[in-house]
């Protein structure tokens, strides 16, 4: 069958048609909160797409908590400095498909030496532990969808928690955009296969997956 389809492919050559389309449910009202707090009608498949995008974002926070401007963003930026501190070019490491050479101990030493074990939360003024944040990130990374991207990239140890450090994941996703996009497509197709057009059930599954995050 595949051969037959393959031989037909040349007859259906359309170089500029848009990318993959999926069967979706007819548009239905979906209860979602607008930024201002009011109810808006959002198509269920749009809500699903948005949540999948969030899940594939290495800096995603569980639920609706915003990352931009948060203490978590500040902590991740602090942690990103460790790579240069130990003489590594983060982008180059990622492009070479190397396992993350930094260890938890190296991160801890870096934070101690730079006096940044704690950083102030700009929202509350409270002190947050960068190291505990790192541990939470590493502890939950493999439970999410990121391992699917590592499958696509290849050569990376999915069981090495350091490969799930958010800055490292972000560098990998930037260097291997196609692979990240392909992993997302696999995941999406599997959801369609499992849930069909039942976007509400799909959303429920994704929301549970989202809550596996590091909070």
């Amino acid at each position: 069958m595949l051969l037959a389809i393959g031989s037909l492919a040349g007859c259906k050559f359309e170089p500029q048609i848009p990318t993959l389309l999926f069967p979706t449910a007819p548009p239905q009202p979906f209860s979602g909160l607008a930024p201002g707090g009011g109810q808006v009608a959002e198509r269920p498949e749009d809500a699903v797409d948005k949540l999948i995008d969030e899940l594939f974002d290495p800096f995603n926070l569980p639920g609706d908590e915003p990352y931009e401007g948060s203490v978590y963003q500040q902590m991740d930026r602090v942690l990103s400095g460790a790579y240069a501190y130990y003489g590594h070019d983060l982008a180059e490491l990622a492009r070479n498909r190397q396992d993350n050479p930094l260890t938890e101990q190296m991160f801890f030493d870096y934070l101690v030496k730079t006096g940044r074990i704690y950083v102030p939360d700009p929202a509350t003024g409270d002190q947050f532990s960068s190291y505990e944040w790192l541990q939470r990130r590493l502890g939950t990374g493999s439970a999410g969808v990121y391992s699917l991207v590592l499958d696509e990239i290849g050569d990376l140890d999915k069981n090495n928690p350091m490969n799930y450090e958010a800055n490292y994941l972000a560098a990998l996703f930037t260097a291997y955009l196609w692979e990240a996009s392909r992993a997302r497509q696999w995941f999406h197709d599997q959801l369609i296969s499992l849930y069909g057009v039942d976007s509400a059930a799909m959303y429920e599954y994704l929301a549970k997956l989202d809550l596996l995050g590091p909070e």
């Binding site: 393959g6 050559f13 993959l20 492009r95 070479n96 498909r97 699917l148 499958d151 497509q185 296969s193």
Partner: protein, 191 residues
């Protein structure tokens, strides 16, 4: 003929029969032929950039796979550092393309030339399917997200072209087997 020679001959004959059985054993999954379809995929890429070249290609193992495509091929262009092209051969036989905008320059590996891989996808799959992997596909016949990928072996000397066989379940936390790296000319398992 001595008894020893007779026994040796029978042994060789048995091995040949068993070898033939192994080679003719039906694959538990279907894969599209990259060799046959690559010209079509390349035409789409050349419409994007005349200097486009094949960087890698992924072929899902169908039967139990949810993938909506048969083959995808990723193309780079040496004169287009911030963009690459993904070309899909879809299940319905249509071709679709997706331009991928990069925020850092694309890592320009050497093009994958036709003479660097003699084994087509199905032959590569046969080479990589040992009994453990065959069993994986049989056990997960209803649902798996496995694929073959033709790519350069980044990080290894010479960055040669290889087939990589990835067998895995679909959802995060699902079972997966270690990747197999296959020589695309001899079918030998490299690691």
């Amino acid at each position: 003929m001595t008894n020893r020679m007779l026994a040796d001959s029978l042994g060789i004959a048995l091995l040949l029969v068993l070898g033939g059985c192994k080679n003719s054993q039906a694959l538990p999954v279907e894969v599209a032929s990259l060799r046959e379809n690559l010209p079509t995929l390349e035409r789409a890429a050349l419409a994007w950039r005349p200097d486009a070249y094949l960087e890698s290609s992924e072929i899902p193992l169908h039967n139990g796979s949810p993938a909506s495509w048969l083959i995808d091929a990723h193309f780079n262009s040496p004169t287009t550092p911030y963009e690459s092209l993904l070309v899909n051969l879809n299940i319905d036989g249509s071709i679709s393309t997706e331009r991928i905008a990069h925020t850092i320059p694309v890592r320009l590996v050497a093009p994958i030339a036709p003479d660097e891989w003699a084994l087509d996808s199905e032959e590569a799959l046969k080479s990589g399917l040992d009994s453990r992997r065959r069993q994986f596909l049989e056990v997960h016949a209803d649902s798996h997200c496995s694929f073959l990928k033709l790519e350069r072996d980044i990080g290894e000397p010479g960055e040669k072209v290889v087939w990589r066989l990835v067998l895995r379940e679909c959802l995060p936390g699902g079972e997966s087997l270690p990747d197999i790296i296959i020589d695309p000319n001899s079918g030998r398992i490299l690691r």
